[in-house]
Symmetry: C2
Subunit: 345 residues, 2 copies
């Protein structure tokens, strides 16, 4: 795969009205991300010929490769953006792909990035098995590193992702969910793979323990802020720009940050009305929410929280020397900040 | 957990009319198997408190712990039946439990060992995630060994199990399935975890490479023979003795060894009739099969093949010194041989 092949992603994002903020960091690591793509595609050959075709299909779900990009940038910021960072980025992306395949079964999703999902194409039995295969392959690759910590971190973050999903499922429609619990759940569900991506990128570059921890915290916060953005987008985004079905969280009983803010800022009588609507288990019209309580304020408050978390993330980079990679990491948080801005009322 | 707690399994088997052939090897490793049980139960605490309860439930699916028993016996036969063998046995049993949780979703099974399955109790979403958590935890434990080969083998055999299941699903109702393909598929689906159990038990005891390979081959053949027995049992077993629903393989289009034998030994006109029945995708009355071709002969031939494979397995033990553990491994194959005998016409 040549480097040009990574560009359509960036173009798609631009054409989807997303700020150009990621262009610089992605150009910096573009060559390495092409290696990640090649590496992911090559994994299909590690499987039985009868299974290879399915794996190839999943590996064509290209995505933005944000996690591998973070591994490579974090490694670069610690002195190495080379083969080990490409490999760990690939491992983490395979874990991510495995969770997507399993998510699509649970959500009954038909399309992902304009391609039929594995479960829509071949049914849930095959999706369960295929996700498992990808996951096993990722762990096999992780255990090829001499340093055991690598596979320990990868497997424990994979476990955290699944546990986060379980907790989220468990707390659906639970109007007593606290902000603290929300952040813990999204930290597990989304933050942990980001955190492992940056931590291990740095570790493989030979960074010392405190630097690894700073980069882990950076990744965790970037992941959490990304999830906050995604949660706001579900309420205020435009489907044609987001490229996915929106307004599904509330129908599924997912109480996200803006909704928790809305509940917290309501008077008792507003809260009663809100709860009644939230428990209907039906898609809720945003205008209905806005008619009850301070909807815009809740979104703006969530956006501000997301930006505070990004500022905290940036502070974890202060231990690093000024390099284009360190700057690239800051541009990632800058980009996420500008995405959050698009959600403001 | 005290040692007595392992005995009900053995008693259940006896009361189910299964020969006492496993009593000696299981008594030899009984104390260590209690440690495996404790270890498995303790894993629940490695999870978030909100997830722990589900994991505990799965870990109560006690089973025969045949894979951990093989790890401990193989280790003992190579000079060590200690903590490392208990730990690798636990890891492999957790992978096995993860595959059971996922299998039950795919089969729509309601009960497993007289307990409601996870999917019957909490639905398929939770089952997918819970299987993933168990799998991730197993891999995390595997990567705690200093020797990377341990986690590589565990993840590659986990991948083989899933790939074997995919191939089996793919070849349902495929009347061109060859005997060779059947053995390759069951080798992946069932043999690979058995092979890893014995190989790594030996490796952790410090066995040399040829001995590890012999024990790997031994485990692989025991696993394959076990699957041949299970396939025969599905056709000829009595449900009240087997403790599970039988006569389901053909309805699902699984062409097992006795059925492949039946097809191979039929005349062209018999084969036409058989194929017609097999493609109905309905439970087939065994008498119908027997009315068409040499049903009893096909079962007896599969049984004989299973016993030949067990004899080959035993030959892989010839490199080992004569110890009670080596004898215990032979008693496992002897026990499987006597199970196969119960399927004879």
């Amino acid at each position: 795969m040549n480097q040009d092949d990574t560009k359509p992603n960036i173009k798609n994002e631009e054409s989807a009205g997303i700020p150009k903020g990621l262009l610089v960091p992605f150009e910096l690591v573009g060559g390495k991300l092409s290696e990640v793509d090649e590496f992911i595609r090559a994994q299909a050959h590690a499987f039985d010929p009868g299974v290879e075709g399915y794996i190839s299909y999943v590996c064509e779900i290209s995505g933005k490769r944000i996690r591998p990009a973070l591994s490579i940038l974090a490694g670069g910021a610690c002195g190495q953006a080379g083969r080990p960072q490409v490999k760990i980025g690939t491992v983490i992306e395979l874990v991510h792909l495995a969770t997507l395949v399993h998510d699509d079964i649970m959500d009954g999703a038909q399309l992902r990035r304009e391609m039929p999902t594995v479960s829509a194409k071949w049914g849930s039995t095959l999706s369960v098995l295929l996700g498992d295969c990808l996951f096993a392959r990722a762990l096999e690759m992780a255990s090829e590193f001499e340093d055991n910590t690598i596979s320990q971190r990868v497997s424990s973050s994979a476990s955290a992702v699944c546990q986060g999903e379980i907790l989220q499922t468990q707390r659906r429609f639970d109007l007593n969910l606290t902000h603290e619990e929300y952040f813990r759940i999204i930290g597990m569900k989304t933050g942990s793979l980001f955190a492992t991506a940056t931590e291990l990128g740095a570790r493989l570059a030979g960074a010392d323990q405190p630097t690894q921890e700073n980069l882990r915290d950076f990744g965790m916060k970037v992941g959490i802020a990304y999830q906050v953005y995604d949660d706001c987008l579900d309420l205020v985004g435009k489907e044609e720009l987001a490229g996915k079905t929106l307004r599904t969280d509330l129908a599924k009983g997912k109480l996200t940050l803006p909704v928790l803010n809305l509940i917290a800022s309501s008077t008792e009588s507003q809260r009663e009305k809100l709860n009644k609507h939230l428990l209907l288990q039906e898609p809720i019209d945003v205008d209905t929410l806005a008619g009850i309580a301070d909807y815009d304020g809740s979104i703006d408050q969530a956006t501000a929280t997301g930006k505070e978390i990004l500022a905290e993330a940036d502070r974890h980079l202060e231990c690093l020397p000024e390099t284009e990679y360190c700057d690239g990491l800051r541009q990632v948080t800058g980009y996420l900040g500008s995405l959050l801005d698009t959600c403001l009322s």
